[in-house]
């Protein structure tokens, strides 16, 4: 079985988000980059299938040379090889198109993604890749088993869960629950050493068409100072919520 895992390189979750002075772009100064946390669940699931079913795991990232450290980290976690499409992606569509172009001839049985990336929160790439490849798509997946050319996926629905069987090849977008938090793999020294020699192929993009542009960005306005209420005066809290905020 061949698995392709899509990973995106995002600002570390503790990052303060700032924009350039003219507000036209995200300010990358001083940012640490990590594998998108939701993609880590997908990657770990793929490594588990590699261990249990002898699958080969390829990671793909659409990005410029600055994203190579996260690809190397994915290789250190256990992926067999990596592909970087040499394009600083400007929207979900251009990202999805490049992933689909690589996947088209790769003969992958399964494409795993995180359900959204925590930077631009598009949540669009997995579904777009599925449609570009004309494959079934399961989103918000919190469980997955593969049996021959069929997968059983559990997806989160509002207020519950649904178990579905899916014909492979398919695209599955995962989130926390796809594997347990405690099973996420932290690369060890051997992994890090072997990642240096694993193949990382760089391919040129097929086009530069974009459909959506970020024209400007704003920060979130700060809240007014907190009003503290004494613990023995909860009547006051109830009054404030009822009369001032009018939320109860």
């Amino acid at each position: 079985m061949k698995i392709l895992v899509c990973i995106s390189s995002v600002p570390d979750t503790t990052s303060k988000i700032n924009f350039t002075a003219d507000k036209s772009a995200f300010d990358k100064n001083g940012i640490q980059w990590v594998i998108n946390p939701l993609d880590e669940f997908a990657l770990t699931k793929a490594i588990k299938l590699q261990e249990s079913q002898g699958a080969t795991v390829t990671v793909i990232n659409v990005g410029d040379t600055a994203t190579e450290p996260v690809i190397r980290k994915a290789l250190a976690i256990g992926a067999n090889d990596g592909v970087r499409v040499n394009l600083d992606p400007k929207d979900s569509y251009s990202t999805a198109k490049e992933i689909a172009a690589v996947a088209q001839n790769g003969g992958y049985d399964l494409i795993l993604c995180g359900k959204e990336s925590i930077d631009y929160n598009g949540g669009s790439v997995p579904g777009m890749v599925a449609q570009l490849l004309n494959q079934p798509f399961v989103n918000a997946s919190v469980g997955l088993d593969v049996n021959g050319n069929e997968a059983t996926a559990v997806r989160e629905i509002e207020g519950g869960k649904e178990t579905i069987s899916v014909k492979l090849p398919a695209v599955i977008a995962g989130q926390k629950g796809l594997v347990d938090e405690k099973d996420l793999i932290i690369p060890n020294m051997r992994g890090i050493m072997s990642a240096r020699t694993k193949p990382l192929q760089v391919v040129e993009p097929t086009s530069s068409e974009v459909k959506v542009q970020g024209v400007s960005y704003d920060s979130v306005p700060p809240r007014a100072a907190v009003k503290l209420v004494a613990a023995d005066n909860l009547d006051e809290l109830v009054r404030l919520l009822h009369e001032e905020a009018k939320v109860i």
Binding site: P11, T13, T14, K16, I17, F19, F26, P37, L38, S92, I118, D119, Y120, N121, G122, G123, S124, G127, M128, A130, Q131, L132, P136, F137, N139, A140, I157, E158, G159, K161, E162, T163, I164, S165, V166, K167, A170, K176, K211, V212, G214, V215, S216, Y217, D218, S219, V220, R223, V226, K227, L228, V229, A230, A231, L234, L237, V238, L241, A245, I248
Partner: protein, 315 residues
């Protein structure tokens, strides 16, 4: 500029998010001087409910094949009946699975997590959530046709009754790639993303056996319950209650955080709540900096007392 909207129902019953999406579509249509057509799949609810928020035409897709959800089959169905320039979806799990597939089928632009009515129609430009609620992006579509998903609880539900008419379409979309094996829905529980009030608790509660008082407060308020990430990691609460950057992003009218420190990753998912109340024994907890109201004190004393006082208020 015809405006279409996907009115999501769950087991035939319209979701609040559907009414919000219709309200949003109506605002776009008013801006464009056009009308709203709502598309819905196998509803049992009356179309009157959609006229009430401004849909003057309802396309009611009847299709046995769509009894079970499949993103692809649903996208196919919507694509067969929607031929407008703008198609609005709520940003629910199902709708945000359909929208990207539809965008590829139709060659449309897709803008997700939309917060406000468009800033401009031509070119289409709109404000959306980005960086997990730590920033906003003004996104512009390069093409004429655009698909939007509207962030839940952002635009709000706005009544705007119009006289409407319904058209039933019998489709039979192929739905062969995926098959639903089982479907579990916990009944009676409020949907976290739709809830107007959310009571949330963190590691400060010490153990799962102490959640009774959180549920009771939530019951009295008609609220949904949520939790911080470590709480669901340890298994005190189910994963689907975890809110934050890597969990659910929510924007209720009132968010009550009990025994939660207010780490940046937690805040990312909840800071678009309209009013935030923080209850924490540590006066230095970072969450107080992002709260509207705060009580420094022991949750084990405050929560039961607060519950009684709210009960009294509600009479």
């Amino acid at each position: 500029m015809a405006v279409f909207v996907y009115a999501e129902n769950i087991n035939g019953v319209y979701k609040k998010a559907a009414f919000e999406a219709v309200s949003y579509a109506k605002a776009v249509a008013d801006q464009a001087g056009d009308t709203v057509t709502a598309i819905t799949v196998n509803p049992t609810d009356s179309s009157d409910l959609l006229y009430k928020y401004g849909a003057s035409n309802v396309i009611n897709i009847k299709d046995e094949g769509l009894k079970n959800f499949s993103a692809k089959a649903y996208a196919q169905a919507v694509s067969e009946v929607a031929n407008g320039n703008v198609i609005v979806f709520p940003h629910t799990t199902d709708a945000s699975s359909i929208a990207p597939m539809l965008a590829i089928m139709n060659g449309s632009s897709l803008i997700t997590n939309v917060l406000e009515a468009p800033e401009s129609l031509s070119p289409f430009q709109v404000k959306r959530k980005a960086f997990s609620g730590k920033g906003f992006m003004h996104a512009k579509s390069e093409g004429a046709a655009v698909i939007l998903t509207v962030s839940q609880n952002a635009f709000g539900v706005k009544e705007n009754t119009v006289s409407g008419s319904e058209e039933v379409k019998n489709l039979s979309v192929a739905n062969e790639d995926t098959k639903v094996i089982s479907h579990e829905q916990s009944s009676g529980k409020l949907d976290l993303k739709e809830a107007e009030i959310v009571v949330s608790a963190g590691r400060g509660l010490k153990g799962p056996e102490n959640w009774g008082m959180i549920e009771e407060l939530a019951n009295v308020l008609g609220a949904a319950t949520a939790c911080s990430k470590p709480v669901s990691d340890i298994g005190w609460r189910p994963h689907n209650e975890h809110v934050g950057q890597t969990g659910k992003a929510i924007s209720p009218n009132l968010y009550i955080a009990v025994g939660i420190s207010g780490a940046i990753q937690h805040l990312a998912g909840v800071n678009s709540s309209k009013t935030i109340v923080v209850i924490n024994s540590d006066a230095e907890a970072p969450f107080f900096k992002s709260a509207d109201y705060g009580v420094v004190g022991d949750a084990f004393q405050i929560i039961p007392a607060l519950t009684e006082k709210i009960k009294a208020l509600k009479g």
